[in-house]
Structures are given as C-alpha cells and as structure tokens.
C-alpha cells in the first residue's frame, strides 16, 4: 500500500485485518503512561486540510506525535481554492519540501487521488468530498470488533444522508468486505442516484430495517440540506429517520449505536441515546488515534509485524 485513498487500497479483507491487528499494538502503546514510541522518528508528516476539521486533524496529529514523527501544517485557506490555485502547484510545493506523508482533507471528491498522482510522498485521505474517509471506516471496524466481534453475517444499518456522505461510502466498502450485511436507510433524496455495484440493501423505513440490526450507524444530517429541498424540514427528518429515544428502545437489546461525529443532538440522534449504554461513540473517537497510528506506521514504517524497537517505550 503506497497511499490510503480509499478502502480498496487496502486490498480487501486481509489488508483491513492487517491494519486492525496493528491497531491492537498501538492501542497498547496508547494505554502506556508515556504513550510515545520512536517508530517514525525523523519522518515528516504534513497536513493539507482544505476543509475545516478539528477532530480528524487532532486525531491524526496525536497519532503522528505518538509515533515521534515530525509534523508540519500546510495551511491552506478556503481563499487559495477560491483564487483557483492549481492543486498541482500545492503538490509541487509538498514534493519540494520532501515530506514523507501528506494527510489530505478536501471538499472535492478525488482531490487526494490527484495529489497522489503527482507526489512521491504517501498520501492519506482524511476525507474527500462525498467520496471516502478510509480511516473513519477503519476505526469503525475496529470499534465494531471490540463490541460485537467478527462482522461476518452481522446486520448493520446505516441511516441518514448517504448521498453526501464519505463516511457511508467507506463504511459500506469496509463493512461488506469484512462480511457484514449492510442496509442503507434514507429518504430517496438522500440516497446516491445509483447503487449499481453497491453490495447493500436499501430501505426507507428505519423502524423495519433496524428491528433486528446488530448495529445502527447514524450519519450526521447537515443543516444545509434543508436549502436544497432534499427533506421538507429537520423536524420531519427527525421524526422519520432520527434515532430518537423511543426508537432506540425498540432496538434489539444488544444492538449498538455509532456516529462519526460531531452529533447534531436532537436531529439525527437523541442526546439520551448518544450518551446512553448503546452508544460506542466515545470508543470510536478513542480508537481513531490508534488506527491512524497503524495507518501511518504501515505507510511510513515497515511491512510485516511491528518491530519491537519501533514501539519500545
């Protein structure tokens, strides 16, 4: 794996499982009193965030620092995009700096793919447009394994704005690769225009779809969708597709609830559910750091098992 642009770059089940196994090692590192190892000492990781993201950025930065990598921020404002700055110019600059990896977030789908074509550095997609957010999917897989074990044959409902969601696309790829049965639940306006080639089933009825689910994965409902006539109102959205306390009470007793954050409390997910016993949202965030350590290590460190020197405290 030279870059991590989408889940397919991991090369299927074995590649995903490799990262999840590596993550175990880095969870252990993260639990140490001094959670810092020399694995990536002398390597430089640059942040190229064209879109605001305090959470993902913080998670990656923590991961890099725990691996002793040097980090540098290529601060790109929205303004440089608006000025029509060529993506290639930015890639040229990164190349000239000689960084080892660049973590890219961009509001345009495919932007990290374009950059990967122009640089020698490893490119990690930290979310591109509506397309992919592979490290989110990996941390979701890791969290799922912690809570429900093997995903084979497990029923996962993903509910919400699938159409505009990079999380949904990555999760569908990763969950189904690991053998889960995924059902997408949304009004037709919030589904992609075509689901050709997607190994999923689709429903417009959350109650029916979630009744026997092992997992309900709730997507963030962005308020700007209101202006695009995709749903009549947030109130109606919550009533039909929100995970309310009443709806959560009807789930299977062992079902868990996930969300990529940040939660619009009271819109797609009731606060009581978000903070309740079914919710594994905090675990998702916590696991994010270790998963991103595993990804950076795999891209910049070594193939195979973790060298003991690398994670020697």
């Amino acid at each position: 794996m030279r870059h991590l642009l989408d889940i397919a770059d991991l090369g299927g089940r074995e590649g995903i499982e490799d990262i999840l196994e590596l993550t175990d090692r880095f969870v252990e590192v993260s639990n140490r009193p001094i959670p810092k190892v020399p694995a990536l000492r002398g390597r430089t990781v640059a942040w190229l965030f064209y879109e605001n993201s305090s959470r993902t950025r913080l998670s990656f930065e923590t991961a890099a620092k725990r691996l002793s990598a040097d980090t540098a921020n290529f601060s790109v404002g929205v303004s440089s995009v608006n000025k029509g700055e060529s993506l290639r110019d930015t890639a040229r600059v990164i190349e000239a700096m000689g960084v080892d990896a660049v973590v890219v977030r961009h509001s345009s789908s495919g932007a990290p793919h374009r950059i990967a074509g122009w640089v020698d550095a490893a490119v990690v997609n930290a979310g591109d447009g509506w397309h992919q957010h592979p490290t989110q999917a990996l941390l979701d897989c890791y969290t799922l394994r912690q809570h429900i074990g093997d995903l084979a044959g497990r029923r996962i409902v993903i509910v919400g704005d699938i159409k505009h969601s990079r999380v949904a696309r990555s999760d569908v790829d990763a969950f189904t690769t690991l053998g889960a049965e995924v059902t997408l639940v949304a009004p037709p306006t919030l589904l992609p225009p075509s689901l050709e080639g997607w190994p999923v089933t689709v429903s417009h009825d959350l109650d029916a779809a979630a009744a026997d689910a092992d997992v309900v994965y709730v997507l963030r409902m962005q308020r700007e969708r209101m202006t695009e006539a995709l749903v009549p109102s947030l109130r109606e959205y919550t009533a039909r597709w929100g995970v309310t306390a009443e709806r959560a009470a009807c789930l299977r007793s062992d079902a868990i609830v996930m969300h990529p954050g940040p939660v619009n409390r009271g819109v797609e997910l009731d606060a009581v559910v978000a903070d309740g016993p079914r919710s594994v949202i905090v675990d998702q965030v916590r696991n994010g750091v270790a998963v991103r350590m595993a990804v950076l290590y795999r891209l910049l460190g070594h193939a195979g098992a973790v060298g003991e020197d690398d994670i020697d405290g």
Partner: protein
C-alpha cells in the same frame, strides 16, 4: 488524353483514392494556380506533387463546433492556433463558437473573429449568440449579424432557458434564413452537476447531471421547431432518448439536424473513475447504452454530423479537483482518426464524408466546403492514410492547451496532407 498530359499543374495530389459525395475512384487531383481543382485523372503532370499512395482523398472536413477562445481566452487557444489544429486534423472549414469574452453577439466581435480567421490555415466562420451576452434575456441583433455572413446562432455553453424567448428567436431566425443551434441543458436540473448522474457519479461522490437535463430541452425545442416551422440544429447530443426524439421528429418532417461528438460516440462516464478532469465535458460522458444509441443514430442518419466541440483549457484549469475544473476537451486534431478507428468499419469513408464534411458545410452555409472533388471546385481536401497506426500524445499539438482525452490511445489512420484553397497547409502530417 494526349493533350492533357502536356499540361503541368502547380500541384498534384497523386496516387490516392477519392471518396466524395459521388462515390469512390482512383485518380490524381490537379490543382490550378487559382486554388481550384483543374483536373481529376490519371498520371497528371505536376510542378509539385504530394504523394497520396494508399490514402483516401476526401473533401476537406468541416467542424460545426469549435471553441477557439478568442477573444478573451487566448491563454487556452487563439483563432490561429485553433485553425492550425483544424488543419492538422484535416479540417478546411470550422465554425467558431460564440461563448468568448466578450461573446460573439455584436457586429464588432463578428468582424474581429472573421478578420482573425483570415490568418488561419482553414476557413473560419463564426456562430453568433442568440441572446445578448449569452445571458438568455434579450435577442442579439440577429439580422445585422446575418448580414455579416453569420448562418448559425447558438448560446452554446448553455441553452436558452426561456421557452418564450427561444420561440421568438426561432421565428425571427426563420425570416432571416439562418439556423438556430442549441446546447440542450435545463439549467435548474443540471445545476451543480459535474458528470453524468448515475453509477459513476454515485461511486465517485460527485454531483451528477441527469440525462433528463438534456432531454427536457430537446423535447421543448422540438416542440418549438414544430410550432415555428424554423430550422433547428441540436448540438452535441449525448443521450439515447435525445437520439430517439430527434429520430421521431425527422420522421414527422421537422426541419431539424443533430450532431454528436467523437467523445460521446466512444467514451463513457467510466472514464472519470480516476478523477482526471480531462474527461470532464459538457454534456458529460454518459453510459454504454447512450454510446450505442448515438452510434446507431449516426449510422441511420438521425445524427447528421460529427462535430468536435474542441474546447481548449490551459493546463492550470485542469489541474484542479474534478468538481472545480472547467468542462471541455480538445478534438480537432484527432477527430477523424478517432471516428475512423472506432466507427470506420460501419460508417465507411462515404459516411465519414457525409458526417464530417458535406452536411456540416451545408448547415454552416459554407459554399466552398463539403463539395465533390470535381474540376472547378475550390481545392479543399483532406488526404488521410487509413493504415497508419499511431499513439496520440498530448504534447504533439498545435493547440495552446493539452486537455486531450485521447492521449495515450493508439489510433488507426492519420491525416497526411490538408489542402486549403489549393495550398498544402499540412504536408506529411506537419503544418506548412
């Protein structure tokens, strides 16, 4: 015969096989000092001879749809550089699109484009905008522009959204004897879309524009053509249902014509899989079924014309993410080779001549283009070697731009010589 052998022609195209509206025949073509064809026959004696052995000699090609970017977009292309691309592609006549800056919507800009066109190694005429500034609000001075020789009016780049205004334009244009051409796209339905809405837009996570955005305007304009009795040309059709509607309209007897581009006849939205904006174009590349329908439409005559929609963009414009890059791709230099490679077996050179020379010349009102290779005609010729295979390189171009979606492809057949008004403007593949 003995007498004719004594005549020496300034230029002879020797050893080729002529294919024109009158069929196929082996003959040399002798060209006189006046730039007209002086003789068609065997073993003509020449001051200067261009070898056409193994080649077909076609009437020079005519492109109904070239974006030459001048005035205003000279970093992408000029009338001269675009004209040089045309010559390299075997075109001896091209119609410039009016979506320049300023738009070709006034006598001054028409004159500017036509004047600049006189320096080009092919005949350059221009289409003019239907509405002032292509803003879709008020009619451009169509009569004044028609008096300057404009035969084709279009707001290309967008369609005229207001049905009432389009009706008036068609009615008014009918009185002038001009043709209105439409880029069919319902702006509201297409808004924000960067590729065909479907399997690939869904996978890639980029907003698409549905086929129906085109089809709704095709449907409306066919109704308006029926209402007004006007002559109407449909630009770069891209969907199966558009083809079906135009087919039905022709059967009904409406005075309509249609074009398709080489890229819509060959490429699909799957080309966008790598996020390379060189494959971003408007209308967008669509599905295999649409490609098949366009090809069937070309073969049965529903699609009258193959037009390039040559749309240069400077490198930096295409070095942005897919959704931020402008739509458009180069086409003039490779159009004939692409059509020959992909459709030659079905279309034949007689079909190619019809779709890329005779009919576009007629629609564009270019009297000296698309004519048979006969004595007395202006010598506008394309000499094409159908056997040569070559790999397209984006850098091997006369264009100021490099957005060539065919780069890296191996094509069969290449333009060897182009003769414009009796002058060899391209010889053995190189601009004179």
């Amino acid at each position: 015969m003995a007498e004719r052998r004594e005549v020496t022609y300034p230029l002879v195209i020797a050893g080729g096989e002529i294919v024109d509206a009158n069929g196929r025949r082996r003959a040399d073509v002798g060209i006189g000092a006046d730039g007209r064809i002086a003789a068609v026959g065997d073993a003509l004696v020449a001051d200067r001879s261009l070898d056409a052995t193994g080649c077909v000699v076609l009437p020079g090609l005519v492109d109904l749809h070239s974006h030459l970017r001048e005035p205003g977009g000279e970093d992408a292309e000029t009338i001269l550089s675009g004209g040089r691309c045309a010559a390299r592609g075997g075109f001896t006549g091209i119609v410039a699109m009016p979506n320049t800056s300023p738009a070709v919507d006034s006598a001054a800009v028409v004159r500017q484009v036509l004047d600049a066109g006189r320096e080009a190694p092919c005949e350059v005429t221009t289409a003019a905008a239907i509405t002032v500034g292509r803003a879709g609000e008020a009619l451009a001075p169509m009569g004044e522009l028609a008096d300057l020789g404009v035969r084709l009016f279009t707001d290309d780049g967008s369609g005229v959204q207001d049905g009432r205004l389009m009706r008036r334009a068609l009615e008014y244009g009918r009185g002038l004897g001009v043709t209105l051409a439409q880029h069919c796209e319902d702006a509201a339905l297409a808004a924000g879309g960067h590729l065909h809405e479907g399997e690939w837009s869904a996978r890639l996570g980029i907003a698409g524009q549905p086929a129906e955005a085109e089809e709704l305007m095709v449907q409306r304009d066919l109704a308006l053509a029926r209402l007004t009795g006007a002559c109407m040309h449909f630009q770069h059709l891209s969907t199966a249902r558009s083809v079906a509607m135009v087919r039905a309209a022709k059967a009904e007897g409406l005075d309509v014509t249609a074009e398709a581009t080489p890229h819509h006849l060959v490429l699909t939205h799957a080309c966008c899989a790598g996020y390379d904006p060189v494959f971003k174009v408007n209308p967008p590349l669509r599905t295999d079924a649409d490609v098949a329908a366009l090809r069937a439409g070309l073969l049965d005559g529903t699609i009258d014309v193959v037009a390039t929609d040559h749309a240069p963009h400077p490198a930096q414009a295409k070095e942005r993410p897919f959704d931020q890059a402008p739509p458009g791709m180069l086409g003039l230099e490779v159009a004939l080779a692409v059509v020959h490679t992909e459709l030659g077996a079905d279309l034949g050179f007689d079909g190619i001549v019809r779709a890329m020379s005779v009919r576009p010349a007629r629609i564009a009102g270019m009297a000296d283009q698309g004519r048979p290779v006969d004595v007395g005609e202006v010598a506008n010729l394309c000499v094409f070697d159908p056997a040569l295979t070559w790999e397209v390189s984006a850098d091997d171009t006369a264009s100021r731009s490099r957005n060539n979606p065919w780069a890296g492809r191996t094509l069969t057949g290449r333009v060897r010589h182009t003769i414009f008004a009796g002058n060899p403007v391209v010889e053995d593949g190189s601009l004179a």
